[in-house]
């Protein structure tokens, strides 16, 4: 038997070699630090019983609500868009998709700031409503939950559109014809075939929106006037302002656990839908 040459070995293991830089990067910059954080938080929990107070749970609850409402709003807005794009438009789909995604080449912060000009007392919405004589006094829109959710929705909606679009695009259109053929109306076809078959896309989109919006700190502060604390703010407060890295670590882990539970719940719920 011939001894394998070095070249052959490299070719054999090439997939590992190619993946190596990314693996090392992830190991050093993600798993190692997170290990420290977890280790730190576990060893310090006994001394930080005062962390488990009502205020902190309120903040976690508020973040959960923010993430949940954002996800639901995104789903409500994204599904029709994805459906229309995937099933109704026949030509130039990629161009439509390109224009849909174009605004998101801009940074999140710039996008958020742009909304000031829309929601301001003398911004676009108020000017329009006053010009149309629908209102006399400008509405107070900035620094309200409404502003927060509007901008959250605006910034996160593409993460919901893309996975749903991908699933619907790949959907075998003959299944829809088969359903109609078997006596189903368009609506029955949607509820019995299209919707169940788009669950994988909805689930992915839900998690892509839910997870980052749970930890979102910029948008609630900018648009909500910084009056309400969210998990993201809490962690950055303990790390950067209070210089209490132990509390920061504990909250990082705690929010991680909350997210894990939420993710598992979402997965479980969607798995249950497949009868």
């Amino acid at each position: 038997m011939k001894k394998p040459t070095l070249g052959a070995v490299v070719r054999e293991e090439s997939s590992l070699f190619v993946a190596l830089p990314a693996l090392v990067w992830q190991l050093l910059l993600f798993y190692l630090p997170i290990g420290f954080v977890i280790g730190m938080s576990i060893s310090y929990v006994p001394y930080y019983t005062n962390i488990f107070n009502l205020l902190h749970f309120k903040i976690i609850g508020r973040s959960l609500m923010l993430a949940l409402i954002t996800s639901i709003l995104c789903l409500a807005c994204a599904y029709p868009v994805a459906y229309y794009l995937a099933l109704q438009i026949k030509r130039y789909k990629n161009i439509w998709l390109f224009f849909l995604m174009l605004p998101f080449w801009t940074s999140f912060l710039v996008l958020a700031y742009a909304w000031f000009f829309v929601l301001d007392n003398y911004g676009l919405i108020n000017m329009l409503l006053m010009k149309l004589h629908i209102i006399k006094q400008p509405l107070y829109l900035l620094n309200t939950p409404f502003a927060v959710y509007m901008v959250m929705l605006y910034c996160y909606v593409p993460f919901m559109i893309l996975p749903i679009y991908t699933v619907l695009e790949k959907l075998d259109k003959r299944l829809l014809e088969a359903s109609r053929d078997l006596g189903a109306t368009k609506w029955q076809t949607w509820t019995n075939v299209t919707l169940p078959l788009s669950y994988p896309g909805i689930r992915t989109g839900f998690l892509l929106v839910f997870v980052p919006s749970f930890g979102e700190l910029a948008i609630p502060v900018l648009m909500g006037g910084g009056r309400n604390f969210y998990v993201g703010n809490l962690i950055s407060y303990y790390y950067l302002v209070a210089q209490d890295s132990m509390a920061g670590a504990i909250f990082t882990c705690l929010s991680g656990v909350v997210l894990l539970v939420a993710t598992l719940f979402v997965n479980w719920w969607f798995a249950r839908q497949r009868v």
Partner: protein
């Protein structure tokens, strides 16, 4: 048991007519096959009947009811799709129950009907299996069960066996014939495979590449008496020659270049006049091949064996009759050992009766 009638149906795609002014009546309670080459518009025709496409003009009737603009779900027509189109998120039971479930039929009735039909399809062991775990033949039977459980007036089958292997296909064809006989439902079977069409059909329509119906007849009639050269060439193999017809009182012939005058039966057709340029079709299996000189045939010609293709039950010979003319001959391999061995480059005689020649206008 209701018939389908298409009146002056025209359908365009991207400005190109796929079907133009088509008239067709499909009798109720029969097994009807629609045969045509790829792109002849046969699938479009099926989709028009099912309602997936709307005709640009013309009308479609189911019995006496005009269904041209009736929504898909309100037509008493069900389809077995080419690649089955089974719902991947439902198991066998729920796929078959889909139509009943949509119509809001009570669960015990659904249960009973589904079980009964799955037993008929020999799928009782697969009832709760997901679709992905079934073989091609099983998926095919689920697709059939899902369609016929709704007791449609017409069942459309769009190349339903294309994805199955030969043995399974032959078996499914027999099952389909039995099923149609039991249900007495109108079956419309679309295929490009002449073997399938000839096997199942009570009668069949052949579509030409221009979306026109070239002939409607029983399979035997279509094969033995094709009406156009297209049908003669499309169904089976044939030797097709162009020549001039000469009609005399005692003897009619067709003069074919390099073949000479062939004796034919006196034609009884308006276009078959003396001196007309027409076609002659002669099926390869109607020709008798021998190295000996034989009597009792109307026509005789000599040639050289160029190729021999052994098919098992028959052997195909390509005979060079002239530099520019070849003829194809099929001989049944009736006996275990051939009486006379015919080999490459042998001189052979070809014989045929005038009754086996079909004359065609175009």
């Amino acid at each position: 048991m209701r018939s389908i009638r298409l009146e002056n149906v025209t359908k365009f795609f991207d400005g190109e007519p796929i079907i133009e002014n088509l008239n067709l009546t499909i009798e109720g309670g029969k097994f009807f096959a629609l045969l045509g080459p790829s792109g002849s518009g046969k699938t479009t025709l099926l989709r028009l009947i099912a309602g997936f496409e709307q005709p640009d003009s013309g009308s479609i009737y189911l019995g006496e009811q005009d269904i041209t603009h009736l929504p898909i779900n309100e037509r008493r027509i069900n389809t077995v799709f080419q690649h089955y189109a089974l719902f991947p998120h439902l198991n066998v039971f729920d796929n078959v129950a889909y139509g009943l479930h949509i119509r809001g039929i009570a669960q015990p009735v659904v249960q009973e009907k589904v079980i009964k039909i799955l037993r008929r399809m020999r799928l009782e062991k697969q009832i709760y299996k997901p679709i992905g775990q079934l073989s091609g033949g099983q998926q095919q039977r689920v697709a059939l069960a899902r369609a016929i459980i709704n007791e449609p007036a017409v069942l459309l089958l769009d190349e339903p066996l294309a994805a199955l292997d030969l043995k399974l296909r032959e078996q499914m064809l027999i099952e389909l014939i039995d099923l149609q006989y039991d249900l007495n439902t109108t079956f419309v079977y679309v295929t490009h495979d002449q073997f399938e069409a000839l096997t199942v059909a009570d009668y069949m329509a052949i579509m030409n590449p221009h979306g026109e119906i070239a002939q409607i007849d029983a399979p035997r009639k279509v094969y033995e008496f094709p009406r156009t050269t297209f049908v003669a060439k499309f169904i089976g193999n044939t030797n097709l020659f162009k020549g001039m017809l000469q009609i005399k009182d005692e003897r009619s012939t067709i003069a074919i270049e390099h073949l000479g005058d062939c004796i034919v039966s006196k034609p009884d057709l308006p276009w078959a006049r003396d001196g007309a340029h027409i076609y002659m079709s002669l099926r390869p299996e109607k020709i008798y091949l021998s190295k000996k000189v034989l009597q009792g045939f109307d026509n005789h010609i000599e040639g050289t064996v160029e190729t021999i293709v052994y098919h098992g039950r028959s052997t195909q010979y390509n005979i060079r009759v002239h530099e520019d003319l070849k003829m194809q001959v099929f001989e049944q391999n009736e006996e275990h050992f051939e009486k006379e061995v015919v080999d490459y480059d042998d001189r052979v005689h070809l014989y045929w009766h005038k009754r086996d020649v079909v004359l065609l206008e175009k």
